[in-house]
Amino acid sequence: MDYELMTNAVLTVFQPQIMAWLVAGLLLGFFIGAVPGFNDTNILAMMLPFSVYMGPLKAVIFMMAVFGGSQAAGPIPAILMNMPGTPSAAAVCLDGYAMTRKGLAKKALGASLLASTFGGVFGALVCIFLGPLVGQYALSFGPAEMFMLSIFGLSAVATLAGKNPLKGLLSAVFGLLVATIGMETVMGYTRSSFGFMELYDGVPLIPVLLGLFGFAELFDMVNEENIVENAGKGASSCTLWDGIRESMKYKLLMLRSSVVGVIIGIIPGTGAAIASWISYGQAKQTSKHPEEFGKGSPEALVAVSACNNAVTGGALIPTITLGIPGSGTTLVIMTALMINNIQPGPSMFNEFAGDAYTIFFSLLVGNVIMFFLGLAAFSMFSKTASIPTKILVPIIALFSLTGSFAFREMSFDFSLTLIFGLLGWLMKRYGYSPPAFLLSLILGKLAETNFIWAMKLEGVKLFVRPIVLVLLALTFATLLAPFFLRMLKERGKSAPR
């Protein structure tokens, strides 16, 4: 490790011009994250041509700040209006919005802000100190490992099933079937697109989740006076600092969720959506109060928020050290480096080590600045929860629909949001699990594609590789742990005193 290069990198980040780009990127990221459907990948892609004029460092630091800011602000509409702007924010809705309903919006936002900052800082530190080393392991993930990873992710369904396990599992399996719509990857046949060209690429996630969570909630909200239950009865006297203090109680959980986020972020083709659900499931299983999950548990919110932002750092590791972008956003960031004649990859730490460290340090500093900018921004947004529903319902409906369009610019997605809104409302009303459905929709394609590839490559033999077996053991542990813990608890209760 070259400490002189690292010191120079820190000094570079603190140059006024670099700091200005960092702050500008964070503010733009906040805006993109807070408006559902706004996609950081698209916005950054539009800015790509300008990166030539900005120079590689400023461009990449600006883009990293946009990426981090949008991840941190994603929970704002999810917490305040049950409207996830990104698939990863869907897990935030469960407990964040439930806290808002209890009049604890500021507390939820505060808890999410600190946890996001923690996750972001952790991710950046891993980048700086372990990046080049850790990146190599991402290459060990072949189709069998990816299939097992998606199955491990699906095991979180067990924690999302709610009061009716059968209906919860049914929702999940239904999600797996819906995920098969569109072109399959082996022979290129289109499966059940119902004649719509817009479904050839499969069911788009953003319109579906804006429908399942955002629009579905409106059908209930329209019958109420206010989002906050018992509004005006002194329920809401909390502040952002209450949330920050609350999340400090879960230091170990934040650390564990950040580790999950970084690991999943490192693996190309995965991302925050999968990581957040895995983290949610893990947090619930190790919690002393799992019964509070889904009903406004700050613990759940902290786990998901820390994990979401840790993914940012994780995703940067293979991009910089191996030249393998794990997501659309990191692909754009990598392109910005390449058009400025910096080739990301294993040689980056030999030829452009200074630039690599500067980028990683900017991520660290950016996360710290984000906390203070977030204090002001989150406080401002928290007032949304007190707006009467007769004003808020049409606004949320409009934002949900516009957000769903902005994702692919297809009018078809308006209808899709409305259809899934209705489905989500009916599912929720009759005890099915929209989150389990969504999780399967996210992971279904990944599971199927990698299962088929693994079988075609080497057959069942591929499934006895060490990482696969570790993931298999983790899956079984996730599924069986609640039963064991319940059994131990029962035994403890019945034991003679």
């Binding site: 916005i43 009716n164 059968l166 209906k167 599992l169 049914l170 399996v173 239904f174 797996l176 079937l177 819906v178 098969t180 719509i181 399959e184 082996v186 022979m187 046949y189 499966r191 059940s192 697109s193 119902f194 409106l218 059908f219 209930d220 329209v222 019958n223 009467p388 529903t389 007769k390 004003i391 319902v393 049409p394 606004i395 409906a397 409009l398 629909l401 516009t402 369009f405 902005a406 610019e409 009018s411 308006f414 209808s415 409305l418 209705l422 489905l423 409302w425 009916l426 599912m427 009303r429 009759y430 005890g431 099915y432 199927e448 299962f451 088929i452």
Partner: protein, 145 residues
Amino acid sequence: MKRVDRGEFIVPGIMGLFIAAYHWQVRSIPSEVLLWPYLVTGVLAVMLGATLFRIAKGVYGAAKGWSLKKPAGLLLVTALYLSAMPFLGYSASSFLFLFGTQAWLGANKRTAFIVSLVLTALLHLVMLRIVDLDLPRLITPLFTL
């Protein structure tokens, strides 16, 4: 015998119809590419059967009462908004949707007008002018909105 809530059949009904439509659509595709869907459908069918059996036995009981008037109204105005958008353009139809829905839900008309105007102007500026999304526009001989 416990009372069976007939509404409980709605979601399984949707799932059943989806399965039927899905497999009708893929009937001419080689079964090689349907290995995974067949596997999923098999599990889904078993679970759907078990759920229907429990519903018929009245295990889930009756759901609490619900008022359908406003949700149905919201669905209707949203459908109207989406149908009007290609003709009126995104901005004009969004303004009418916002103002109309707020007024229908009982908001003060002046507040509703101001909120709708400000939000529509903001969305018009960001979505159509800055980001330049390909949203429907109202084109008249005098102006384009």
